[in-house]
């Protein structure tokens, strides 16, 4: 069973994503901020990290920068999950964000569950 870490400061959205992922047979671990998310990633070594961008204390981009600096976490794929479509190059229909000068796959809030699941599948497999 693939393990997915969700890092988001909004507990409601975390719970809803958790419901979806568990129903689709993923193991889920959660974190409410970037700082703690990096610690959890180092401990748990998930197969995928779903990362919010705008978070208090540590910005999603900052957390990813940290994750990329550790040997244990640098190869874990990251899927950004954001309501801020100004991070998207053109409009909300596009599915990549530019963070730290690098393109990452992204899902915008509000989201289509099918699109979320198919993107996850393409990143980690079933």
């Amino acid at each position: 069973m693939k393990k997915i870490l969700i890092v988001d400061d909004d507990v409601d959205i975390i719970e809803l994503i958790e419901n979806r992922l568990r129903k689709n047979n993923y193991e889920v671990i959660v974190s409410n901020d970037g700082d703690n998310g990096v610690k959890k990633a180092l401990q748990e070594k998930p197969d995928l990290i779903i990362m919010d961008i705008m978070m208090p204390r540590m910005h999603g981009g900052e957390a990813v920068k940290l994750l990329k600096s550790y040997e244990d976490t640098k190869d874990i794929p990251v899927l950004f999950f954001t309501a801020m479509n100004s991070y998207l190059p053109n409009d909300s229909a596009l599915d990549h964000v530019n963070v730290n000068g690098q393109f990452y796959p992204a899902i915008t809030k509000p989201f289509e569950p099918n699109k979320l699941l198919s993107t996850i599948k393409s990143l980690v497999g079933e």
């Binding site: 909004d10 409601d12 959205i13 809803l16 419901n19 979806r20 129903k23 309501a83 801020m84 479509n85 100004s86 053109n90 409009d91 909300s92 229909a93 596009l94 915008t108 809030k109 509000p110 989201f111 569950p113």
Partner: protein, 376 residues
């Protein structure tokens, strides 16, 4: 020369004549005094040469005086003639009128300077107000932008919660519950579309609504959009017709053109209860012309000119259960404008609406240079 200046000129020449007359008298007096003095000297010391000199001087002065006098009398008689000829013009009424006119001019002049000053004040006030409005407009755009983002997260939570309930994730859902869940979801979609449109408008106004143009096949795009609508169309009992060649290349941003087509077909679908929607595309000179024609309720001549304006609600659409956001056509027009194309509507109430838009077949030379010489 205007008549008023002529009158003034004559008055002035008469004044000059009187000055000349005074000058002649002064000349005579000023010549007689030294002559008298010389005569006094001559009486004391009489010589033949002095006598002759005295005679010449007296003759000279007298000749001088009489010639000036005759010149003067000629000038006076000319001036008198003129005066007589101009008498009616120089009546006191006219002088009064002239004076009055002059006074009026003075008053008018001061009024004009006051008005000019007031206008200058107004212009600078307007400039300040304009700047203030620009700042406010910017603030409003930023506000709309931020608020729209802030709406997205709660909307995502509401949508996903209802969706999970409706899917039966937490137990079986009866028909009534499902009906109301779906009603909520439909309206969330509406709200979402409004927020997306507001974000687009805010980008358009800031000039940040970028279009990434490439050589794309408009027929393939139309077919994809038709496919997405086909199920809905079938459910509503509407026929989907098309008149398309195998392929037509346009220089356009694919995603943006999809946005326009979804909007136009979406409107046609919403406002057509029976009949059909027909999409066609054809070449027209340097442009490709696309048409979305429906057999729906149509748009009246009063509303037609405002079809592409912000938040304009079409009269006969007002009571329609599925109103749009009022922004879709504004965005569509902006997208087509950014492609240097045209978009326009033709309609008749009761028999349907046709919206036509054009897109260039190739990039312009200007765009080629901007994009580093990309060939179309």
């Amino acid at each position: 020369m205007p008549p008023h200046s002529k009158k003034l000129f004559i008055v002035a020449s008469l004044d000059e004549v009187s000055v000349l007359r005074k000058f002649a008298i002064l000349f005579l007096i000023s010549s007689i005094i030294p002559m008298g003095l010389l005569y006094f000297v001559y009486l004391k010391k009489s010589t033949t040469i002095g006598n002759a000199a005295m005679m010449i001087m007296v003759t000279g002065v007298l000749v001088g005086y009489f010639s000036i006098r005759s010149l003067l009398s000629k000038a006076i008689s000319i001036a008198k003639d003129n005066r007589e000829a101009m008498e009616p013009l120089l009546s006191p009424e006219i002088v009064d009128e002239l004076n009055h006119g002059q006074n009026e001019l003075v008053v008018l002049n001061s009024t004009l300077s006051a008005v000019t000053k007031q206008l200058q004040n107004n212009i600078s006030e307007l400039k300040i107000k304009n700047e203030e409005l620009k700042v406010l407009d910017h603030l409003k755009d930023d506000f709309v932008n931020n608020i729209s983002h802030e709406f997205r997260l709660p909307l995502a939570i509401i949508q996903e919660s209802i969706r999970q309930v409706a899917e039966g994730m937490f137990g079986e859902v009866n028909d009534k519950q499902l009906k109301y869940c779906n009603m909520s979801l439909r309206n969330i979609d509406r709200l979402k579309a409004l927020i997306d449109n507001m974000l687009d408008i805010s980008k358009i106004k800031k000039g940040k609504f970028d279009v990434l143009k490439k050589d794309v096949d408009i027929v393939a795009i139309i077919k994809d959009v038709m496919f997405d609508f086909s199920l809905k169309m079938e459910k509503k009992g509407l026929a989907f017709q098309s008149d398309l060649p195998p392929a037509l290349g346009v220089w356009a941003d694919k995603d943006k053109i999809i946005q326009v087509l979804v909007n136009l077909v979406g409107n046609a679908y919403k406002f057509t209860e029976k009949g059909s929607i027909k999409i066609s595309a054809m070449e027209n000179g340097e442009f490709i012309e696309c048409r979305v024609a429906d057999s729906g309720i149509g748009i009246g001549p009063k509303d037609l000119p405002y079809l592409f304006s912000y938040f304009h609600q079409i009269g006969q659409w007002e009571n329609h259960q599925d109103k749009g956001t009022g922004l879709g056509l504004v965005i569509s027009k902006n997208i087509i404008d950014l492609h240097h194309g045209r978009i326009y509507a033709e309609s008749q109430v009761g028999s349907g609406t046709t919206i036509t838009f054009t897109l260039p077949k190739h990039s312009t030379i200007e765009e080629n240079t901007q994009q580093g010489g990309t060939t179309p």
